[in-house]
Subunit: 283 residues, 3 copies
């Protein structure tokens, strides 16, 4: 395995590839990060070498991955399309491919994982989060859309009907403890214990005979993953909804207040989407 990715720092140790997302302080899923994730996943399918487990975390202390780059939806979608077959041009189908990659993937989450960033975590095989610093959310309903890259599928299957509806249509932030109680993530751990816990677990699994691990993951995936038809449908619905005037208006309003720039609004995006003025005028 040999890979050099501009926006993902990698380190291979004892069968574990530590992949640290490093695409700016927000770690937006834009052209750069999607391109590099596509390359990484392609390598894991075609030439994994000694890699048995991949741990994905973030170089940014406040953001695991803020969300997709809403100013470049067609562009990052074009990058995501390079991962798939014809007609599968969506971030959702790329993350679906990630979910089925024949090694084990672990999301280690500090900071915010919202929208596509949360869906990136949900596509991993396990999610461990900092109790103090992790935040999860699908804010799309607050802008007139819905989670378009697997979030609806994963949350409905994992949280059950009422909690999934709350998670999606509330568009709100969920701290790590609540996410654990809801079955959204594996566990919330004290921040000081998170790195050690994940490293030990990853190296442990990397030391097991790989065929059994691969077969077990595939068996669970067969029982729990959505069908591609569901993923394609959600992606199409997302694209259709964000093109509607009321969605453009919400996104423009958030954009004028600092969306996608480091700072206050992004930090509290779950709260911010609830603050749209009733008169529908930017103020």
């Amino acid at each position: 395995m040999s890979i050099d990715l501009p926006s993902i720092r990698t380190r291979l140790e004892d069968g574990v590839l530590f992949a640290t997302l490093d695409a700016g302080s927000l770690n937006l899923l834009g052209v750069d990060l999607v391109r590099d994730l596509v390359s990484l996943v392609d390598m894991l399918y075609t030439d994994p070498g000694d890699i048995r487990v991949v741990v994905i975390d973030s170089a940014s202390p406040d953001y695991f991955c803020a969300h997709v780059d809403l100013t470049a939806v067609p562009q990052y979608t074009a990058e995501a399309a390079k991962a798939g077959g014809p007609g599968d041009a969506s971030l959702g189908m790329f993350l679906y491919k990630l979910a089925r990659v024949p090694v084990i993937t672990i999301a280690k989450v500090r900071g915010r994982a919202r929208g596509g960033g949360n869906e990136l975590a949900l596509a991993c095989d396990m999610i461990f989060a900092s109790r103090e610093k992790a935040v999860f959310g699908q804010f799309e309903s607050g802008t007139g859309a819905l989670p378009g890259a697997g979030g609806v599928q994963h949350l409905a299957r994992r949280l059950g009907r009422t909690r999934a509806i709350e998670a999606i249509v509330s568009a709100d932030d969920f701290d790590a403890d609540t996410a654990e109680r809801y079955g959204w993530i594996n566990r919330a751990l004290p921040d000081t214990e998170l790195d050690g816990f994940v490293e030990r677990l990853a190296k442990r699994i990397a030391g097991f005979p790989p065929e059994g691990v691969r077969v077990a993951k595939r068996a669970v995936n067969d029982l729990t993953l959505a069908s591609p038809a569901h993923i394609r449908s959600d992606a199409a619905t997302f694209q259709s909804l964000i093109a509607r005037p009321e969605s453009r208006e919400r996104l423009d309003h958030l954009g004028a207040r600092g969306l996608q720039t480091p700072g206050g609004l992004e930090r509290d995006l779950g709260k911010a989407v609830g603050d749209f003025p009733e008169d529908n005028e930017d103020s």
Copy 2:
């Protein structure tokens, strides 16, 4: 939207319809309450006006909704039948229609929600409960029957096999904290925080563009709701079981001790169904 319902007090505010069940101290699902719930749901399908979210709670401090009126099963079933197509004469099919209503519904539970009352809560899109005052239960197995209006379907899908079997065949009461741990409800909240939490959440969602919320709810419903065939089957099984002699005997015994009258037995109905004398004689 204009609606005047004898047994449901309503108030519309900022897109949220606050619907308070007010059908006597037990809030039994009898002719009056079922008739008014059918009218409410019909209005939400055909002429919702500004209503985006409905919050359902109870005017009775001790009962969200005790259960169905066991003295009037044919009568309330006839009312429920008015909600559906031919052949769908069951409370279960009406609650199934409620679960798919194109606005968001939130059950805010204080007091007891048992049997059909619990199934009413389960048919809502979210359930938030008073940690100190809410009680959930499906007591039907204790009387020889089974939950016939969706409870089996919701609990099996939401709680998983072993907890669903416990919830149903134990026929016991579950406090709000246990219900939260089991994934039966969204959350147990301190009683003093419950109203504020639900009102803020409801108004927040009511402020979002409605099309995305509607589509997201439908997508989750498609993945998590039972099929009508399951609902119809459970309803038929319930009708068949409660007609059996051993079920009549249990209900008569409970009736003689105060079933459906405010007071001791109804308060502790979970316990009471376990106290049937072994000699099968009323004592």
Copy 3:
């Protein structure tokens, strides 16, 4: 009902059969215990008499059931085959039959329930565990295999995708509190309360009219159990994986260090499977 089983002590009281596994200090699922479990389940199908509920626990303070007897896989499989039809020669298909038995079964777990022992518990209708003394785990991935007797199916459906993958491919031990949080078991209870809780619950259910209980269990089973095809596939995969050289090597290494003998390695088997030396030489 009349049954005399060498490795299972039974006591019938108020409709509850207390069945205490007593097949040595490890309670291995070997020829003796599988033979007697097959007899017990056969009796529950054909001649249950007054039995309405079965409580399964262990005579060994440290082991509910350590796992299958890895030195006698063909032999215990032959015993399990006696429970089923032609072509269903697997422990998994026998436990699948147990899961559908027309009485209620409750696993009361103290000590370790790993591998097939955990799958025995998962096949019961409810699992209550000692908070201080119960340990759950599927250690198979650590030896190159996967849970072959229902574990993949139950855990994937009950824990959701990410927690099921963790439970299986980590091959690690889970204490009762974590198992409860993951939805693996019904509840962890203080050890001093466990016996009383389970006995009261079992006798309560045994006192209800049996037809409703039976129908309710069947309805939940229909929604939550795997299909036989899944069970057969997992059994075949398990048989195939444990025959591979890397699996033999791991099992031989564990065998040389005390696998299947009372003592240190079995007590901490979750840890032990992670300690395979990197040079692949027994040391």
